[in-house]
Symmetry: C2
Subunit: 201 residues, 2 copies
């Protein structure tokens, strides 16, 4: 099986933008954790959990295919999480919609699936890989903080009660401070989108 | 002035390994936040805060020079924070010690300094830049979590009281869960070094 290290996908959970299309061809993008584990035989296995109710799940059940778009641009993550990615931002790779601006694309096919109460877990096989742009990138705590804030923000509507919500809002506020202190213009822009789109914050 | 985007250093605070040498030539490495701001004139300014008592400060006061090593290998961050980087891991670039494995090096000279109670703030001018290795890297929450845990761990001995220490330990424990869940082998190794070296945890 292909090794995806060149596409920036190593062991652990890689935060990527998963792009898919519906049976009718409409593209969709959503931030997803792509899980890479080493099996007992020493091979790498790739999997994703896709939650019921999501367009990504509906599309993968229809097409048995998805693309992982690797990027560290947090504006892309927040846009995919809270807004619709514009049609003009997609292109095609191996007949799958992908994000033009991503640093790498990996197209996966589904090899098997497990149905759970809240999600499906899909085992994936990489089919094609394309590296678009390599770079040197320093670690930026603000970049990380936007992502953590976005993860909390996507869960806030599922909070058990007002107390849990208040706690989550406080966490987002802490992350925002880190974004404003450590982030650059992209991180600040991503935080603005997040705040504008999450009425629960 | 040089633009350091190619070395992965953009606006905001870039977490880098600062390498320096003493007047006698002994190399040192420490994780430092390199601050990049846009001035009112539209230029980029670079600065660091170096805390009193640190070897990095002593060396910069002697040599007026430092190198920023850009890497996203968290083992390097944790090692530089809690252990001595081995002499064999350094090489020379423009007569400044740098880390062989870093993805990029930027040598800075000091243009001015401000003395504060706890630290010196140095304004820096980039003198030479070297790109060693470009790559695609997916965002990994475990990678970020190791760094956050390490930052807390370096501050735990300065905690005001036992209650503050307990709170910091709880934060490190939460980050460790994220490292174990989302990180790969390098993140797990970095967490082990952190735990072995921080008796306060």
């Amino acid at each position: 099986m292909m090794n995806l290290e060149a596409a920036g996908i190593g062991e652990g959970i890689s935060e990527v933008i998963v792009t898919t299309k519906s049976g009718a061809g409409a593209p969709n993008a959503a931030p997803i954790g792509l899980v890479t584990r080493r099996t007992e035989a020493g091979d790498l296995s790739y999997s994703v959990k896709l939650y019921r109710g999501s367009q990504t799940l509906a599309n993968v059940l229809e097409t048995r295919t998805l693309a992982a778009n690797v990027t560290d641009d947090v504006v892309v993550f927040v846009t995919a999480a809270f807004e619709d990615v514009r049609a003009a931002d997609f292109t095609d790779f191996e007949a799958v919609p992908v994000l033009k601006e991503a640093n790498a694309w990996v197209v996966f096919s589904v090899t098997s699936e497990e149905e759970h109460a809240e999600y499906f877990q899909f085992l994936l096989q990489p089919e094609r890989i394309k590296i678009n742009r390599k770079a040197v990138t320093a670690i930026n705590r603000g970049r990380n903080a936007v992502l953590e804030a976005a993860i909390i923000a996507t869960r806030i509507h599922r909070a058990e009660d007002e107390r849990a919500k208040a706690e989550m809002r406080a966490q987002v506020k802490n992350y925002k401070e880190l974004v404003m202190k450590c982030g650059g213009p992209r991180e600040h822009a991503a935080m603005r989108i997040l705040e504008a789109r999450c009425s629960g914050l």
